[in-house]
């Protein structure tokens, strides 16, 4: 299906009036053009090998596009997709600054509203742009109730600028500004509990997702897209370069983050926990930590390393208890909490209860 047909179809479905759609180009259709999904983020972008953020953005665009406008904060995603004159985006896209994606998105949304258009507005930012520098404009956007889906691609440090710690960097992880050494065991502080803060804005929907669970991720995007009002999604997106793991392990690492409880997969509606992705089989945090160079110092023969491992385990256990991640519904483990595959594609994610 061409992008134009898909656009027309969507507008038909959602009552959006086509405004002179361009006809698909005549001639043969290449296999790439004939893909049965919308490629909002095209090949040829310059993300590193195995980039979790590129994957996350691709997954989001697939089910959000094409009738969207994206406001993108400064960061890896912005840089690796838009080295002029080559853009990897197939949706209208604007990058302004590091800290204002939410505000720019607010303005775009206000303009859509003023002009009676239903095009959905997306705001993208990394964890630096979201947890830290753009936090205020995000809060403002949520409070003003703009019809924007804000997606935070969380790779837990300032990767674009050279792997500096952010407020999203996990406790005890090393970055270039939280190195481990004689006096320090990596980052001294905790990872900010952003989802709870976001949820406290009493917005319709806030959720966490992971690239390791694409069906769940896309279900959450679709759900958020259907909501008229501010919604928020944070996607755990491993960075092979910054986390120091092999590029082929991106999904494995992301999956283990969820399975050990360090990255809880939760959904909050109007500030209340409405759903969690249960963990089928809880793993020890070391399964997750040992894959990554940023935690290598935690495996040294050093009592402090042992203490920090225990600390991280305690944090994971806390998440499991607080969010009930082992699940009360016996059916959960066989539906949402799995990465199951079947012949001919993944089984559809279960509808929300």
């Amino acid at each position: 299906m061409t992008d134009a047909t898909r656009l027309a179809e969507l507008r038909q479905k959602f009552g959006r009036v086509p405004e002179g759609p361009s006809d698909p180009k005549p001639g043969t259709v290449s296999p790439r053009e004939a893909q049965p999904r919308f490629r909002g983020l095209e090949s040829g972008h310059r993300a590193c090998q195995g980039c979790g953020e590129a994957l996350a953005a691709r997954l989001v665009m697939e089910c959000a596009g094409p009738d969207v406008i994206v406001a993108n904060a400064t960061g890896c995603l912005e840089v690796f997709t838009t080295a002029w004159p080559q853009s990897a985006w197939r949706v209208p896209w604007v990058h302004s600054l590091f800290e204002n994606a939410a505000a720019v998105a607010s303005g775009i949304e206000a303009a859509m509203k003023a002009r009676g258009k239903n095009t959905k507005v997306l705001a993208f930012g990394g964890d630096g742009a979201t947890y830290d520098i753009g936090f205020q404009s995000l809060s403002g956007m949520l409070e003003r109730y703009h019809n924007v889906l804000y997606v935070c691609y969380d790779n837990e440090a300032y990767m674009n600028t050279g792997i500096q710690r952010s407020s999203s960097t996990p406790h005890a992880a090393t970055t270039t500004t939280s190195p481990a050494g004689k006096e320090r065991m990596g980052k001294r502080h905790l990872k900010k509990d952003l989802v709870s803060i976001i949820a406290a804005h009493h917005i319709p929907y806030a959720a966490s997702a992971s690239v390791a669970f694409p069906q769940d991720l896309q279900r959450k995007v679709r759900y958020a897209m259907g909501i008229e009002g501010p919604t928020f999604l944070v996607i755990h997106s491993p960075c092979p370069l910054g986390w120091k793991h092999d590029s082929r392990l991106t999904i494995d690492v992301a999956r283990k983050a969820v399975e050990c409880g360090l990255f809880p997969m939760v959904e909050l509606e109007r500030g209340s926990l409405s759903n969690v992705m249960p963990i089928r089989q809880v793993r020890p945090v070391t399964d997750y930590l040992e894959l990554q160079g940023r935690f290598r110092h935690l495996f040294a023969d050093d009592p402090r390393a042992e203490e920090e491992r225990a600390h991280l385990q305690a944090l994971a256990d806390y998440n499991i208890t607080t969010y009930g991640l082992t699940g009360g519904d016996p059916d959960n483990a066989d539906t949402v909490g799995t990465a199951a595959v079947g012949r001919g594609g993944h089984p559809a994610g279960r509808l929300r209860p």
């Binding site: 296999p31 040829g44 310059r46 195995g50 004159p85 985006w89 999904i251 595959v341 012949r343 594609g345």
Partner: protein, 560 residues
């Protein structure tokens, strides 16, 4: 020269001009098309993974057709085969091997019940004809595969009915005659196959005469001739050889009277005999076998060669099994056996590097028994085959069964076979060789490598217990009623869903879903030909995610 756009805006998707494929350093992803271990292990040459794939799509008849492309008797093998496919199944390490034999049997029975047509056509009247000696599983398979290759088949069977050992030596509790007859009849009545019963080799037909007016002669006479047996020079007066005893029982329903019996051997005949005798009323039945029982420390080549569930059922029924042992000596009172000296034995590496059996001194013990029955295998009846027999068997020179120019040996008569599945495979192979020779070429085998379990990514397979077939309780087991039941439609499809699709594309979309670079291109929504996705190497950066996350090991990173 690129002209600057106002404020340097960009047009959509123009990053396609930037080919990131040259970022790959050493490796690229490839589709390996490996052989699933079940397929690799199947002596009949079935590709279980392939027909499970069709079942997963709910295409039951198509699955059966794919199955019978290799094995025309799935209803039979599903009941009697020791299923090395299940032993090889990679799911074994997760939550139990697939119950392949149950599904195979179910498919065979479904085909009979629904009258599905075998995927063969009648060859032209002037097509080459192969002559086949013996209508046992090897001969029947050969005849069927002859049709698949466009040849006609003429079978000569010495007995009054087709079936060979399936009929003469396998008790109906394992293979009900109705099931056997239905499947055999369907195959043998296919146009192009002609069966002549009561035609004995050496009396009614001769290999030489057949060779003169047939495209080839396929010898599948089976093994009918008991071996000479004595222990320390003693042969009891009432000596009975196992297979003969079994056949006799099947014909007349009688065993010689005995209270305590030792069966010496380690195959299905020994097992069938033990169980039947126990059911017939023999108080103590002991199986003495040189092989080991299944267990973590048992080497594959040391494992007792019986259908695993038969072993379980035998133990349920109270058969005693002494593994790694042999009967050293018979204790005779006159010409009658009153006891047997049993000693421990094991295969150990010899000085020439080959394993040899060593009996350990000091392990001898005496059992009081009325009868010792050897089940140590049979040899080819030499009648009409004298010029081909070599130390009791036909012993062909190769995998295809070649004895000479147009004469092939199949099945048990080869001397290196022991299962129905091997016999069926021999039929297919010999005919393939004949057909290839007629076409002036050579037959080929599937040389793909087997996929090891370590290449799978097991996280994508949610736990699913192996389905269990209903079974008659011990108290209800007779000489006629089939012990293991049908698993049924639902369980068969559930079992199919457990197939990991080792080394073959599952069309699960993982590679397509996980590629951060959209360098995996989907080619069809659903297909089974093994190539659903293309790698767009113009953009693939070689990160290896697709290979890592491929559940089936179908994608692997290989040097450029």
């Amino acid at each position: 020269m690129t002209i600057l756009t106002r404020s340097a805006y960009g047009e959509p998707g123009t990053s396609l001009d930037f080919k990131t494929g040259n970022w790959r350093s050493t490796e690229k992803p490839v589709h390996i098309h490996a052989k699933a271990p079940c397929h690799g292990a199947c002596p009949a040459g079935e590709d279980q993974q392939a027909w499970f794939a069709l079942l997963q799509e709910g295409r039951v008849e198509a699955a059966w057709r794919a199955l019978v492309a290799a094995n025309p008797l799935p209803g039979v093998t599903g009941r009697v085969c020791p299923h090395p496919c299940e032993t090889a199944c990679n799911r074994k390490a997760l939550d139990g091997a697939l119950a392949i034999h149950n599904v195979e049997r179910w498919l065979g029975d479904e085909a009979v019940a629904n009258g599905w047509a075998y995927p063969v056509e009648e060859p032209p009247a002037d097509a080459p004809v192969v002559a086949i000696i013996g209508a046992g599983p090897a001969g029947v398979s050969a005849a069927y595969h002859a049709l698949r290759h466009g040849m006609r088949a003429r079978i000569f069977e010495a007995a009054s009915e087709a079936g060979g050992l399936l009929r003469s030596a396998i008790p109906p509790t394992r293979l009900p005659r109705a099931a056997l007859n239905a499947e055999l009849d369907r195959v043998l009545s296919l146009p192009g196959i002609e069966v002549t019963c009561r035609a004995r080799l050496g009396r009614d037909v001769s290999v030489e005469a057949l060779a003169a007016d047939h495209a080839a002669v396929l010898l599948a006479p089976g093994c009918q001739e008991g071996r000479d047996w004595d222990v320390g020079g003693s042969v009891p007066a009432d000596h009975h050889e196992g297979l003969a005893l079994l056949k006799e029982f099947m014909d007349h329903g009688q065993f010689p009277a005995a209270q305590r019996v030792i069966v010496h051997g380690g195959g299905n005949t020994a097992m069938d005999l033990c169980r039947l005798m126990k059911r017939f009323g023999v108080g103590e039945v002991t199986l003495v076998t040189a092989s080991g029982l299944p267990g973590p420390d048992t080497a594959t080549d040391d494992l007792i060669n019986v259908v695993p569930r038969e072993l379980e059922e035998a133990l349920e029924e109270g058969i005693e099994i002494i593994p790694h042992a042999t009967v050293n000596r018979l204790i005779m009172r006159g010409s009658k056996v009153v006891g047997a000296e049993v000693a421990s034995l094991k295969k150990v590496p010899g000085t020439d590097g080959r394993k040899k059996r060593v009996t350990f001194e000091g392990t001898e013990r005496v059992r009081d028994v009325d009868m010792v029955i050897p089940c140590i295998g049979e040899m080819v009846d030499p009648e009409g085959l004298h010029s081909w027999i070599n130390r009791g068997y036909l012993r062909p020179s190769d995998h295809w069964g070649t004895l000479s120019d147009r004469i092939y040996a199949l099945g048990d008569a080869r001397g290196d076979r022991g299962t129905v599945a091997e016999a069926i495979g021999d039929g297919a192979r010999a005919v393939a060789a004949v057909a290839a020779r007629l076409n002036g070429g050579e037959a080929t085998t599937d040389t793909r490598a087997e996929l090891p379990a370590s290449d799978l990514n097991p996280v994508y397979y949610p736990p699913a217990a192996r389905s269990v077939a209903p079974k008659l309780p011990v108290s209800e087991r007779t000489f006629e009623a089939e012990i293991e039941g049908d698993i049924g439609h639902e369980a068969a499809l559930a079992e199919a869903a457990r197939c990991l699709s080792c080394g073959n594309c599952l069309a699960c979309d993982n590679c397509w879903t996980f590629c951060p670079d959209s360098a995996v291109i989907k080619t069809a929504e659903l297909a089974t030909d093994g190539s659903f996705y293309l790698f767009d190497l113009d953009y693939c950066k070689g990160c290896g995610l697709c290979a890592q996350e491929c559940p089936t090991g179908y994608i692997q990173m290989r040097p450029e």
